[in-house]
């Protein structure tokens, strides 16, 4: 209960901070729409030459683009800002203050900073997903829908744990702010099904930087391409990574010595 109250407070603080710059809403709306336009125009150009891409139909790729935009929005809404803030605070020593608070530091670090305007991307991605789903229509059964939601959840957990592990490196190396950029450039490759890519890149995008779990695999579940082995792997990996990242975080905390003046 305490957690939800904290979440609400932090959310309100973030909203209040951004609402001081109201024009930002329109700038961000414009940039999000332009970004979506870039993805969709690319999609339209490709499908003007072909009817399927590596066995994927246009509306299925459209669903993938929707998930890509939506999950990208969620990452920059809920995960990335907090992690960036954490790296910054480890460097300048303000992380000391987080540690003195009575709540869990990992939890506080996660919710203290939110990318408010990413709500626009989440909504745009979701709308695109709904449009794609209507076009795919009757071919989605109840089981696929459940698998899809389950894979979205496991994908998000995997991405969160991955970010946490990268961020925790700050306790040893301090200057790691660029490390999160790796994810950004790799994530762009998630706009297309990873099954298109040659083996080394596919494995890289699945197990080194787990982009596939957040984009391709949920849509594979939706379009009935997923076998039970992948489904189970995703579940096991999500749980294992979550626990591992938590343990790594605790190890990092032990290693942390305040650097502030």
């Amino acid at each position: 209960m305490n957690y939800f109250r904290l979440l609400r407070v932090f959310f309100r603080v973030n909203v209040a901070g951004e609402l001081a710059y109201r024009i930002n809403f329109f700038i961000n709306l414009f940039q999000s729409v332009l970004g979506l336009g870039m993805s969709l125009a690319g999609f339209a150009i490709i499908f003007s030459f072909t009817t399927t891409l590596g066995g994927w139909r246009p509306e299925e790729i459209l669903a993938l683009v929707g998930v890509y935009v939506m999950i990208g929005g969620i990452i920059r809404f809920a995960i990335q800002p907090g992690m960036e803030q954490l790296i910054q605070s480890v460097r300048d020593g303000t992380f000391d203050f987080t540690l003195t608070k009575p709540e869990d530091a990992q939890l506080l670090a996660g919710i203290s900073r939110i990318g408010i305007w990413e709500i626009i991307n989440i909504c745009l991605g979701f709308s695109l997903l709904v449009i794609a789903l209507v076009r795919i229509g009757g071919r989605i059964g109840g089981l696929q829908a459940v698998e899809f939601l389950a894979m979205l959840l496991t994908g998000s957990v995997i991405i969160y744990s991955f970010f946490l592990i990268l961020t925790t490196l700050a306790f040893w190396w301090v200057r790691v702010e660029n490390i999160l950029v790796i994810f950004q450039s790799m994530y762009d490759a998630g706009r297309w099904p990873v099954s298109l890519y040659p083996g080394w890149l596919r494995y890289g995008l699945t197990f080194v930087v787990p982009v596939a779990f957040a984009t391709t695999i949920p849509v594979e579940a939706l379009t009935n391409r997923l076998n039970w082995v992948t489904l189970l792997t995703a579940f096991v990996l999500a749980i294992a990574l979550f626990i591992a990242s938590r343990m790594f975080w605790k190890l990092g905390l032990k290693h942390y010595s305040g650097t502030s003046a």
Partner: protein
């Protein structure tokens, strides 16, 4: 002239030292530079294969070569000054640059040249590996190689100067990220980044060739690939020369106006 020469040498040293210090950032940045064309390479090869092996005048091997050459052309021509400039103004660094007796563009040119001298050999090795593993097909003739060099250098000149001009927008607004994104939108579709222009609808082709975008990336790429005849290659280099002149003029005019609008910020 001698002073300018010394300035370049000094900036080369500084850039080299900085890049060597931030090796990890360099690698992270290069992953992005390689991955984007690689993704389009794979997508277009897939489309071409499912289309019976070719689209328009491009077969699968030509698509592979196109995106690999494009990756190198992009590496030579890209700049990052648009991301930097607002920071320089906001933090007051530009004030220091203005105190110096030389135009600040020289430091950027030297910085750009040095960092490319470091990254280009690495990227060339990657390009060769990609060409071998994706079976690129490329037949080079001597005139193409000879004309490719001025084509590439002019492309760099145009892109560098136009992007430097665009960066001046920071003199008037702090919303440069929105402006940059509009620019990248046009760059993606009109420069040949997303697909070779000759397979796109003719309306896009004409727009791209009237505007400078095609001449900054697509033209040298298609020239080396052999998609341009000798006559149109020579004509293209002429168009590039015109654009370079316009770009030089634009930089001077906008810089003069910008400095007038500049209100120093910082310590």
């Amino acid at each position: 002239m001698k002073a300018l020469f010394q300035l370049y040498i000094q900036q080369f040293k500084t850039t080299f030292a900085t890049m060597f210090q931030y090796r990890a950032s360099l690698i992270i940045w290069m992953i992005g530079q390689v991955l984007e064309p690689l993704v389009y390479l794979i997508v277009w090869s897939t489309v071409s294969n499912s289309n019976g092996g070719n689209i328009g005048s491009y077969n699968t091997g030509a698509f592979v070569s196109y995106f690999i050459i494009l990756m190198l052309v992009n590496q030579v021509t890209y700049t990052w000054v648009m991301f930097d400039y607002e920071y320089r103004i906001r933090q007051g660094f530009l004030s220091f640059a203005l105190l110096k007796p030389v135009h600040p563009i020289h430091a950027d040119i030297a910085d750009n040249l040095m960092s490319k001298a470091i990254t280009l050999p690495i990227l060339t090795v990657i390009a060769v590996i990609l060409a071998l593993s994706f079976h690129a097909s490329l037949t080079l003739t001597s005139w193409r190689i000879i004309l490719f060099i001025p084509g590439l250098l002019l492309a760099f000149g145009i892109r560098f100067l136009l992007e430097w001009t665009l960066a001046q927008a920071a003199f008037w607004t702090t919303r440069v990220s929105a402006i940059n994104q509009i620019y990248f939108f046009f760059l993606l579709f009109l420069s040949g980044q997303i697909a070779p222009l000759s397979i796109l609808p003719s309306a896009i082709q004409i727009t791209a060739k009237i505007l400078p975008f095609y001449w900054m990336m697509g033209f040298p790429t298609e020239l080396l690939l052999g998609k341009v005849t000798l006559a149109s290659a020579l004509f293209g280099i002429g168009v590039q020369a015109v654009w370079l002149t316009i770009a030089v003029w634009l930089v001077r005019v906008v810089w003069r106006l910008g400095v007038r609008a500049y209100a120093a910020v910082g310590q």
